[in-house]
């Protein structure tokens, strides 16, 4: 939940900043997609690690 708040805030900030600088073009969309991929990859790694630790205890 904390990451959703942090990641969402970061994404909104990035989108706003990119839109103000370049308007809506391919570069803005590409930057947001790369950011979304990074967030998804973080969630993926976080889930895997947490599952592994959990499996040790249970």
């Amino acid at each position: 939940m904390k990451f959703v708040l942090a990641g969402g805030t970061g994404g909104l900030s990035l989108g706003l900043h990119a839109f103000l600088r370049h308007q809506a073009d391919a570069e803005v969309a590409s930057g947001l997609l790369v950011y979304a991929l990074a967030c998804e990859f973080y969630v993926f790694l976080f889930s895997m690690v947490s599952s592994s630790i959990r499996s040790l205890f249970f």
């Binding site: 939940m1 790369v34 991929l37 998804e40 990859f41």
Partner: protein
């Protein structure tokens, strides 16, 4: 993403083979690498007027799809609720539910999945220590209605009370694999810390007595 994952799980259940995570990973790798190579070659050769941001965006979309797919796959394979279903399939069923016990033994002998029959027994309260929550019961009836089309899952248990979606007295029918597969996906996880909290409804509960 969700539908792609569901379709693959259904196909896996119908085909009968369960691919390993390595195979699923290769499936995505073998589509991502050619996409990157083709895009790189097209841009470098000047064959099309595609810009690098477009290529990067396309690869990012593919990456988001692949990572999400792999994440759902791994969670569904090791999900907490699925382990409850597996445990319910091996748990002793009340001796009064003779038809259910016989059906489970028959399916075990023939090597068929036991998830559907385990959920059926849990829904009827025949598995000590495991119950379906109201949301899980609703989901169970929904998918069972789709999969069985109004037929009874267990021979001898054909009362209308067992089948709220139909008024027909049915013939006997085996629970198809799709039922367990679909339900297995829906109940797979309930960890509150996960970003997948949207799908973490509590469909199955354990009774602590």
């Amino acid at each position: 993403m969700f539908w792609a994952f569901s379709i693959v799980r259904i196909l896996v259940a119908e085909i009968g083979c369960v691919p390993e995570e390595k195979g699923i990973f290769r499936l995505h790798l073998f589509s991502a690498v050619p996409l990157a190579l083709v895009a790189f070659a097209l841009v470098m050769s000047g064959a099309i007027e595609t810009q690098w941001p477009v290529v990067l965006g396309a690869l990012s979309v593919h990456g988001i799809y692949s990572v999400s797919f792999l994440e759902l796959w791994s969670l569904s394979q090791g999900g907490y609720s699925l382990s409850i279903v597996e445990r319910a399939a091996e748990a002793p069923v009340c001796a009064t539910a003779k038809a259910c016990v016989a059906q489970r033994n028959r399916r075990r002998e023939t090597g068929q999945p036991l998830g559907g029959i385990a959920l059926f027994a849990a829904n009827r309260g025949w598995v000590p220590g495991i119950v379906l929550t109201p949301a899980g019961r609703l989901c169970y009836f929904f998918f069972r209605a789709i999969a069985l089309g109004g037929k009874s899952a267990i021979p001898g248990l054909t009362s209308i009370a067992d089948r709220p979606w139909t008024n027909r007295q049915s013939v006997t029918s085996m629970p198809p694999k799709v039922t367990a597969c679909l339900f297995g996906f829906w109940v797979f996880d309930r960890r509150p810390w996960s970003a997948h909290v949207v799908m973490s409804h509590r469909f199955i509960a354990e009774e602590h007595s």
